[in-house]
Amino acid sequence: MSGSRTRVIFYTVAAVISLAGLADATYLTVIYLTGETAVCGGSASCFQVLGSAYARIGGIPVAALGALAYFGAFSFATFSAFGHTRMRMFFALIVCAMFATTLWLLYVQAFVLHAFCRYCLFSAAVTFLLAGIAVAVPPSR
């Protein structure tokens, strides 16, 4: 398989994975905006994470920032899959920023809040997959 074709497959997969993250982050943003609490029903850990001060930055829900980031990753991956070479750099940069943010949020959950939220863990898994793709994608010649 040629490097070009492999890159198309990698970026297409990255775009599809980003959609899963976008759906998760959009859902959490709506939950934040409505004040809906049933989403955490029965899970003290979920309440502790989503109800904590770390769930927002300056009044803006972290989930909304996540939705924007996933949309950015999706857009850059899509353009990259269609051969827009400059977008590959933007894809790598945004995934790098998302990866760093995810590490920070995992640290907060593990060592500050001592609680994990399933939606946040799903988002972390999506970001790790994207980071894996960004690393594994064959470089252009």
């Binding site: 976008l22 959009t26 409505t34 904590s52 999706f74």
Partner: protein, 223 residues
Amino acid sequence: MKRYLPFIIVVVVALVALASGTVLYRAKRPSILTIPKSALVSGSGGADSIHIRGPASAPVTIEEFGDFQCPPCGKLSDPINQLEREYRPRLRVIFRHFPLLNHAHAREAAFASEAAGLQGRFWEMHDLLYREQPVWSEAADVQLLFDSYAGMLGLNVDRFKKDMESEQVKVRVASDQKHGAALGVRTTPTVFLNDRALAPTSLNPTGLHAAIDAAMKTTTPHT
């Protein structure tokens, strides 16, 4: 065409995300604010202020003396909410605190609901405390959970914490308890229907339905 395809895909995904977010928002919003704001009176003033769902002109009033840590009260919460929706605007519901001493966190829960009430979210906290009762009742650090509930409800958590400790909410809860004791309340839930205490055997959806229907037939709307 291929040149424009990525632009089209990105725009379509953006529109789908926005549309689904909006639909979800609209679907979730009414489940929180179960009743119109105009029909809500949530005590945020002195000791005499009370929490009411439904119009003052409703011919039938249910007044519940409840304890957030009492399991039967938790089981009754949803049916009462459903009845309020079903009979609206002919039914109003009043909630009064009656935290029992044998429930370790009942008073704190009552304070939490009052502190939320001071930020206009009493009923949301009321519903949340009842729904999550099995979780926080067993929690090692109940205050931590109440704070996170406040955060989830979009309250100012610092203010919520201060209000929970304030004299104002303590007086409010004590006032309800005093009122209940004067009426002869000893256990929870105790429910009055138009000032008449219902038998414990009627405290279930069927029994409440029957009692409300009977009261509807014998009462005329207040003016």
